[in-house]
Symmetry: C2
Subunit: 163 residues, 2 copies
DNA sequence: TTGGCTGAGTCTGTCAAGCGGACTTATCCT
DNA sequence: AGGATAAGTCCGCTTGACAGACTCAGCCAA
């Protein structure tokens, strides 16, 4: 192989963080479920109806998210009704906020609607300003996407098969 | 319906930015492809081999990403070989950096490996420091996930069906 | 000039997953 | 007792993923 092949070709994708994260997040229904939880919709029927998920798929996705620790199942009881369950984000789930905000930010830029964004992230409480994500390096710079590069880290494994 | 139902239930998900973004990004293979492009792997065979994607699926995903404007197909020619094509991120694709960085950041925190992260985002050039994403509001605060809320924006549509 | 190599696909059959719609269960209210 | 409702389970059809074989185009070596 010639020398101009990208450095990344020498590293395994086996343990890649993006892959492992996608094992959890990696399908559209999971993201739909997370969106509902992030906007405060927590009950099975409400999630199903709003997101348009087949019930069976919703059941399966909720179970997966619980198993991975992103959400928990919690009993609730409306006055005069029997106990039921709702789903809530754990800290691990909440910490996906930057991912969701980054996606909304990208979508608002590249798939804009005439009427403006249908969903906005805001700083709760008195501030109430619009929240976005920014890239920042440890030296305090805020690089543009072109100034950022993914590199193999300490946990990178060489690839088994020759390139 | 009782009054404690979340505000979000009154709004449609039809035009939701997350949904529309997930129409493009929303499956694991698409993310695998993007990862390869972000780390600099650009050729069909290289992407296929590293990401372990079935060829047909790769063909289909690349076509989709081109159609959506996230990548472009560009000819290249190695010395003594015929012209072939490689795939490169457009500006729209590059602007997904915050999404990918946010995912890596989450994965490194919640799915850590013994040896440390296999992939790191760094500020290119002389700086070379580690890059992360932060949430920031327009007043300059950097809220924690719990201090952020998604709210209906100007483009929010009321829901067609009653609650 | 023929034959082989390689990158970038296409084709084919199998099998798992998604899907809509009907059905179930448990508890509350009237 | 009868009806309502949230949260599922069950069923059959269809779509998509998948592995593996095949194709095609241009370059190289003999």
């Amino acid at each position: 192989m010639s020398d101009d092949e990208p450095e990344a070709m020498r590293w395994s994708t086996e343990n890649c963080t993006i892959s492992r994260t996608m094992e959890i997040l990696g399908d559209k229904w999971t993201f739909h479920v997370l969106r509902e939880l992030f906007v405060g919709v927590r009950r099975f029927e409400d999630i199903r109806a709003r997101a348009g998920i087949p019930r069976q798929v919703l059941t399966e996705r909720l179970a997966g998210l619980i198993e991975r620790g992103l959400i928990r199942r919690q009993p609730y009881r409306l006055p005069g009704q029997r106990e039921r369950y709702e789903y809530r984000l754990t800290q691990a789930g909440l910490d996906l906020y930057p991912v969701l905000v980054a996606m909304v930010q990208w979508g608002d830029q590249y798939l804009p609607l005439d009427d403006g964004p249908p969903l906005e992230a805001r700083h709760r409480g008195t501030c109430n300003e619009h929240v976005s994500v920014v890239l920042r390096c440890e030296a305090g710079h805020e690089p543009t996407p072109r100034e950022v590069a993914f590199r193999p880290g300490p946990g990178a494994q060489p690839r088994a098969l020759a390139g």
